[in-house]
Subunit: 220 residues, 2 copies
């Protein structure tokens, strides 16, 4: 089974690395990081480079494709190369997946037209504008398309996908290997649970806010 994770400039690292850490442990899984141009890819905050080993041109039929999010998704969905590649590989994938605002790239490629899908909570409206049916759930399956909510949701999605690909016992063994028994120190991980002032702060700072605002800070 061939798994391709797309990288692009200003990607959010955990969107890609959470699912990688799960899916790379599937028996017989071959996982590759791909980009329009192979080589180091700088993440959203500029503090890290991940290396894309292969060009998307060289990876033509992955069984699973995963599109992470991050502020660089804007440029990624403005570029024909990535969108054309996604449209082409989606024809043959077993699963086409995204994390966070990676779903906006899938939507721009036309893959989510009329499909139930999710994204970072701040990007759900934008997802709807791009033709998907936005759903405020952590992991959304619609046919062979699987989308996850913001950043850390990719871990939950990948475990659900691992169960589909290799069975519940294998997914549980991976979860135990990663000691994924989450105990966040706060219950503030979704807009319905966080203090309202913090929700509004992130909404105001978001690049998806209606008025022009800085894209810096903690928001998507």
């Amino acid at each position: 089974m061939n798994i391709a994770i797309l990288l692009y400039d200003r990607v959010t690292a955990l969107d890609a690395i959470g699912p990688y850490e799960v899916l790379s442990r599937l028996p017989g899984g071959e996982l590759q990081f791909v980009a329009a141009e192979p080589g180091p890819v700088r993440t959203d905050n500029g503090m890290l480079a991940l290396v894309a080993e292969r060009s998307i041109e060289d990876v033509t039929s992955p069984d699973v494709v995963l599109v992470p999010g991050g502020p660089g998704e804007v440029a990624a969905r403005a570029g024909d190369a990535v969108l054309g590649w996604l449209r082409a590989v989606h024809e043959r994938t077993t699963w086409t997946t995204s994390v966070c605002t990676g779903s906006l790239i899938l939507a721009a490629a036309g893959v989510l037209a009329g499909k139930r899908a999710t994204s970072h909570w701040l990007a759900l409206e934008e997802l709807g504008r791009l033709g998907a049916v936005p759903v405020s759930e952590r992991v959304v399956f619609d046919g062979k398309v699987v989308t996850a909510a913001g950043v850390s949701a990719g871990i939950d999605m990948a475990l659900a996908l691992a169960a589909k690909l290799a069975g519940d016992a294998t997914a549980q063994a991976i979860q135990l290997g990663l000691e994924y028994d989450p105990q966040p120190p706060f219950d503030a991980g979704s807009p319905g649970k966080a203090p309202i002032a913090i929700v509004e702060l992130l909404r105001a700072r978001s690049r998806f806010a209606h008025s022009p605002k800085s894209t810096a800070g903690t928001a998507a």
Copy 2:
């Protein structure tokens, strides 16, 4: 505030990237990936390279140091360069931290002598042999030393640390930005919760098992 995350050959990526994704969002945080030799560092499964921008020689007084785990910890704790660096920077850090089997490296450096600390559940005995007082908890604070359990526990640790460094509201804003509202599809993330057969499978495959076994597979 200067944060240094140590990389080394055969590190487990999520051990480093989970905390990076949290700590890089701290206001005024400057985060760097460091290694004995700067350049691309290959992760445990060989499928990914992360780039260490700086040599440990050039980073002499980080406020926070974080040591991730992975099978490469064995070589890391056999090398004087990394252990000497950790001993030296620990003198001046505000927080000295580890994820998963990164605590074995801290222990080998002498930083955990007599201290309460944790590690991947499969590595707790080894941690005790190296002079720490092993504790089966997800995140353990002992003075300025903070250790996290296996792989994914680094996210919880980093949020707890973010609260110490910048206050609860900032930590909650980061959590909401990462949409960290975990919903694992199974409740199998710790040895007390996973099916016993799966716990025994991972124990048998572990490189910490008493009889020589393969280091392949999903275990630590």
